[in-house]
Every structure is written in C-alpha cells, then in structure tokens.
Amino acid sequence: MIDIFDSKKGFFFYVEIMLVVILAIIIWTQFPISQQSYLDLSAQENLRHLGYTYMKAIDVSGILPKYIHSANFSATNFTKLRFVVADSLPSDIIVYPEYIYNESLCYNSSGSAGACGLNTTSADTTTVLYTFTNSTEPITIKLYLKSAFGGRL
C-alpha cells in the first residue's frame, strides 16, 4: 500500500482537499442559520410596523401637516420633523427620515435635495415607506430604522 505522503502528487492532493474543506467551512459558517435570521427578520418587521403606525398616527392627528408644507415641499421643516420622530420613538431605535419627491429627487433629514438613498445605513437597517397625501403632490417618507442593540445579519 502506498501512503499519500509517499508521493509529491499525493501530498499536494491532500493539501488541496484540506484547503477546499476549510474554504467551504468558512463560507458555510457565514450563512445565517434559519432560526437566527428568522429572529432578526421578526425584529426588523416589528420596527417597520412601529414606524408605519407612528407615521400614520401623526398624519391623521394633524401633527405631520405642521411640518410638511402643503404646496411647497422644499419649504418643509425637515430638521424639526426629524427630531419629532426621533423623540417619539423609543430611544434605542435609531431613525433617519428621507423624503421621496419622485423617482430621482429626495430630501434628507436636513432638507438637502439630492439622489435617493442614504449611504450611511448598515446591514441591519430596515426601511418603511409612508405616503403623505395632505399636500399638493404626494410625498413618501422613507424611515430608516435600526435597533441600537442590533448588529446581526
């Protein structure tokens, strides 16, 4: 019987096999196992429901229209609205609103107009859309929500 270490070909064969196995293990361990991803997704769904329910509540109760100009959206008081939202939600939730005017124009929470999408979001940030209709043109508020104790995914 020839041992695999006895030949150069056999040695490299063994090393290659081990490298492939190590590589496969590294890749597989990075996949979210179902139980954990389910819990993370449930937490994110709760955040989304919380954000949506809150936005609808301040809309129908007349709080939101105080900060969003009915006819001139660029005159909306973005900064104050951000603080109202952040102060109302639990303190362990990090929230950034973005205001979608159309498919290419968005305003960030400071009121700066630009392309849509925040660059500072992390992987466990979730989003929810709420469309505000009490204005000439409909405005969709996109809330970026993140739990301060999150960090998975």
């Binding site: 006819a71 859309l129 469309t131």
Partner: protein
C-alpha cells in the same frame, strides 16, 4: 496517514458540511425568501391607506369638482371697492376685473395660458374669462357687475375657482387676450383627487423590487375609485380602492 484514517476524516467533514448545507437550505426555504425580498404587506397597506386618506380629504371639500380633466383648483377671492359717496348715478358697477391667480405654475400642464385656465363660480358654472397674456405668469380677467347699495364707500367680495393642470385642454371659444382693472386676490390650493398618487406610486415602488400599476377606475359621486396592482415575490394584489 492510513487510507482508513483519511476516509474517516473525510466522512466527518462531509457530515459537518451536510449539516451546514441543511441549515442553509432551511434558511433559503423559509426566512431567506424574506431576507432577499422586501416584506410587502406594509407597502401595499401604505398604498391603500394613501388612496383612502386622500379620498377623505378630497370629500371634505364641499363643492365637487367641476371637471375631472383638470387636476388642480384654487379658490380665488378678490374684493372690488367703489367710492360711491355723493354720486347716486354711479351706484351700478360694471367693469372687467383682472386678478393674479395665486396658482402654482409648476403644475401648469400647458405653456399656453389661454388653453388651460378655467374660471368657475361656486355653483360649478363655468364663467367666461380672458387672459392678459398667453405665457406665464398670466392673470385672468372676467366681467363683474354689481350695485353699491348706498351712497357710501362700499365693496363686494367675489369668489371663484380657477382650474388648471390639463395638458389636453384647448382654448375655449370665448377667450381672448385683454386688459382690465387689476385687483389683488387671495386663495389657496385645494386637494386634487387621488389620481396624483398613481403617478407617485409608479415612480417609487419599482425601486423596491415590486411591480406596481395604478389607474383611475371611476368616480363614484365625489369619491375616486383607484385600481391598484401590486406584485412582489412574497405578495400579489389586484383590486380597487375607494
């Protein structure tokens, strides 16, 4: 290393691999579907709520829309004053009033003012009106007639709706370019019906990975019936909302 040892190690590695593959497949089968696809229920709920809320606000406007071909309307109010003190022969006032519109020109669908603008009174009857210019900003002119009831300074408030936002409107037969007595006006924009939401939804929701279609079905009284089609990997909806 013996061949049997290598075989044993290989079997253990394969078993470990199978375990991880199993957990990954379970992820792909259940939660990973949601992991890679945005949960759609709130997006659909948002569209339905938006249409219903907009309908409620639209209904709150007491006078119904004169013509749904026009997207926007403003209430326009202006005051005509008359110094009638000591001159009974001039109690009857008749003039052409020219007033600025207070409308949002960005919502103007046609570059020609004479085509698009309409003046309607509060009984929903169209009133003949002219424009001072065919290009924006332009003002509307209309004939007003009233009687000062006493030998004193008096005034009368006139209220109309100005309709705009109709790209296919054509110039009415009565319209010409004219000049009149300039009067300052005030007024505000009223809610347009939920058709505007369709344009908005179709612009933003495809970016979430969903296929969205939205269109006007009908007007039921003063309510707007909107058809919504929503399709994502996890949710499909096709129905109308009023």
């Amino acid at each position: 290393m013996k061949k049997s040892q290598f075989f044993l190690i290989a079997m253990v590695v394969i078993l470990i691999s199978m375990f991880y593959i199993y957990t990954y497949i379970r992820s792909a089968d259940q939660s990973s579907t949601l992991f890679f696809d945005r949960p759609a229920t709130l997006d659909l709920q948002n569209m339905i709520d938006s249409v219903q809320l907009r309908n409620e606000r639209y209904l709150a406007q007491k006078i119904p829309w004169w013509n749904y071909g026009w997207t926007y309307r403003n209430v326009i109010s202006f005051t005509d004053t008359y110094d009638n003190s000591g001159n009974p022969a001039e109690q009857a006032v008749s003039k052409t009033a020219e007033f600025d519109l207070k409308i949002i020109w960005a919502h103007h669908s046609n570059t020609d003012c004479s085509k698009e603008l309409r003046l309607v009174d509060f009984s929903n009857a169209e009133v003949n009106s002219d424009v001072n210019s065919t290009t924006t900003p332009c003002s509307l002119l209309t004939a007003i007639a009233w009687t000062c009831p006493a030998l004193t300074n008096c005034n009368r408030i006139f209220k109309y709706y100005v309709y705009y936002g109709n790209a296919s409107a054509t110039t009415p037969a009565y319209r010409s370019t004219a000049q009149g007595t300039e009067l300052s006006s005030s007024g505000g924009l009223e809610e347009a019906d939920p058709r505007l939401l369709c344009t908005h939804f179709k612009a933003i929701y495809p970016k979430t990975g969903a296929t969205v279609d939205c269109s006007l079905v009908s007007y039921v009284g003063n309510k707007t019936n909107i058809s919504i089609y929503y399709s994502s990997r996890s949710l499909k909806f096709n129905g109308s909302v009023i």
